[in-house]
Symmetry: D2
């Protein structure tokens, strides 16, 4: 699909800033509020930030890799940008929606593109209770934490804690424990994407716990409710020969 | 849904045969060719056999546990069978369809409800090449074998080889290696259910390999092509409070 | 071996304090400085503290379980204490010795009975370099952290992060990553007990990291050197039918 | 240590045979019965065979890699063989000793350098009982099989089934299940090297099982008793900069 106006954004790193300069001298830039498409220059972390920042605009975002990993990013190339954007394929992602309640009763909401994670905030292990669709499935888990990852996020923190890589088209989520002590060697569960997952923190004063929706952190969590957000759509653009679905599939066969 | 006529089938084990006698004295039995519903008495292995045998009839099958594991089975109870059947929930499963070609060029087809597996048939490790939708994803894997499991089968052999348990609703398949030597510690891949998976056996004379679709065995396999069968529907009945979806979910939280 | 004088110590928990009262009324108590044997009432955490506190005294410690897990503890029983102590078997453990250097050059030493662990102290993953006996074995690991566990500690935090359970007699240590991102799915290494392990923190300002020798925490670690301490001997007493070696063995067959 | 007489042996593969010809034209060859040292040309499989064949001779064996993997082998080089042998380091390995009893009561003994493994010989899973030093530790395991590996063998079949890599100096053995169904996800156990492990096959007629000591196969096993052999010493020579201990250590940090 052809785009007429583009906005460039870049991470603070040198390489990304230099790329930004070159792009600005080669192409006409409009504000992110008016652009048909946003081009993000940086690594995966910056892409995540960009997606969060411009979610409300509902425009597609095309990432070019000027940073680490680059799983969400396309190859960097200064030439023929508009032709490339026109041929790019759009992938729509649904974020997770988190509502957290802290130990003094304050609630907070945030969206996560990769994962919502919960992690102990002291030397003491967390004790967590997990419910799925209102049914307690894990009455007490002793652990460092737990996370719920989307397919797009399944290759990020979820992979570090041995969670399964999920194909984009599968419409499942990965509930994966972080350093679980009891039940011993629990591996986590793959969940249909329609579920509502509730994590209750047991003894939250004695065993303080933080929550994290991508990089939005919440302290002193008492409980967190997570479900797929049905209203927000993230639109990512990928060069067709190497789109996100293909990358996740490749990642599964990599080692 | 109310059923009018029932056929009973039972495994050869004593306990199943005794249950069969009691059922036949309590209820009117019709032939499996005329029954609205088939009641299978035995364990999971017998249920699998029953599903295979009566697939063509397209009638629902209600299993009652008189054997080992009983993952596909309901609790055994001699009373109020028709009321129970009327209230049971139907789960529809799609089997996998396997086409194998052996080293002298013969092809064979079979269906698998749980998994299609490939296993070395000699002391020598197998060398396998895996393609997904026509693209080679794993050029050479040195291993004892590999399997492709359905969600229903994900708690069977797939679980023994550390494959992920898949929720029924997820519409994914688990491609899981069996004792993989190279690539080291490859964990397998979760696949969208629409894929076609091809396994080619490298050096099949030197390193002979057998294939298995549930319990249909094929010797001296040269290659196997597996995809979800779109024409056959397996219909299983479960007591609503403890249906197959619930069991698989529970199994994920069990340890 | 017969003991003449005993000192009782107890954790702050109610149950342990009540047990302490009953013990003090049943047996003559001497100060921990003069006792032949120390009896510790509480859970594993308290036993660890007790071992640390009275290490210098070089007297055996007999734990009785009034708390959680109780892996290092004997069953609680108020009767026939001296007969029981006389028949108990002594297990000698060597702690790990940690020297940490922080980002401003301060060094600190501490002993660990279970494990020395390193964990990220911010949202950012740690980047660590691991050397064994002066040879860099892992130039850069992206992870939440890493730990080095003794056999006695192999069933504690090490087990939570999927490390191997080590038999007491094996004289090996477990180097186990915590939530490792790169190298993907690295499982850690079993090390001969004579090794010196050095962990260097890369970019310690940007990616702050804490170290922990059991519960002694060190902030802003730049590097940590760990080796088995040859001078300190921890002496634990166990009822012979259920000693620590047996427990660790059992733990390996448990699931 | 200087050697005066050398015997060359080679696997049947072309490359090994060609290397043999070149070696025979460059060096004086004596019979394996009279040689001070045996030089084996081939891959790891051939080295294993050579070790088995010349065990009784108690001479060191130096492998040169002309085949696959080459974990037990040194680099191939036609030059300066005697200087190289003189500087090589000797590693002594103890094999495992297996006594098997089959279903008609015949016993058989064999040695294993890598591992003793037990594997189902039919479509049906094996049911095994495991005892360690006379104590039943696993009353019934449903699985494809189990193996007991030496440190030298811990990087072979044991690694394929996710067993731990064991450092040579550790004096432990790895008891690792093969495709275990129940107990679910049992990971196996690391054993002190002095143990005697007994595997009893339950229902061996219904569920036939084969045993394997390296490549010596025994059919219709009823039980197998395995312990470290104290009388046989295997002597392997390695170039010092890249000896077996170093290789196993490296293998643990590889991925």
């Amino acid at each position: 699909m052809p785009f007429r106006t583009v906005a460039f954004v870049a991470s603070e790193h040198d390489e990304a800033q230099k790329a930004l300069e070159r792009m600005l001298s080669a192409y006409r830039h409009v504000s992110t509020e008016r652009a048909d498409v946003i081009v993000a220059l940086g690594g995966d972390g910056f892409m995540l930030e960009t997606l969060h920042r411009y979610m409300h605009r509902n425009v597609p975002i095309f990432g070019m890799n000027r940073g680490s990993v680059g799983f969400l990013m396309n190859a960097y190339d200064e030439d023929r940008l508009f032709q490339r954007l026109a041929k790019a394929e759009e992938v729509k992602l649904k974020p997770l929606h988190m509502i957290s309640t802290d130990t003094v009763g304050r609630t907070r909401e945030a969206l996560a593109i990769n994962e919502v994670s919960i992690l102990r905030a002291s030397r003491l292990a967390a004790k967590l209770r997990i419910s799925v669709d209102g049914v307690v499935r894990m009455p007490e888990m002793i652990c460092d934490g737990v996370l719920l990852a989307t397919p797009a996020g399944s290759t990020a923190y979820n992979l570090s804690v041995n969670g399964p890589i999920l194909p984009l088209r599968a419409h499942v989520l990965a509930l994966t424990p972080i350093s679980v002590f009891r039940p011993r060697q629990w591996r986590g569960a793959i969940m249909p994407h329609q579920v509502t997952v509730k994590i209750e923190v047991l003894y939250p004063q004695l065993r303080p716990v933080n929550g994290c929706a991508d990089f939005t952190e919440v302290r002193d969590v008492a409980s967190i409710v997570i479900r797929e957000d049905q209203t927000t759509k993230l639109r990512l653009l990928f060069d067709s020969e190497h789109n996100l679905e293909e990358r996740i599939l490749k990642e599964q066969f990599l080692l």
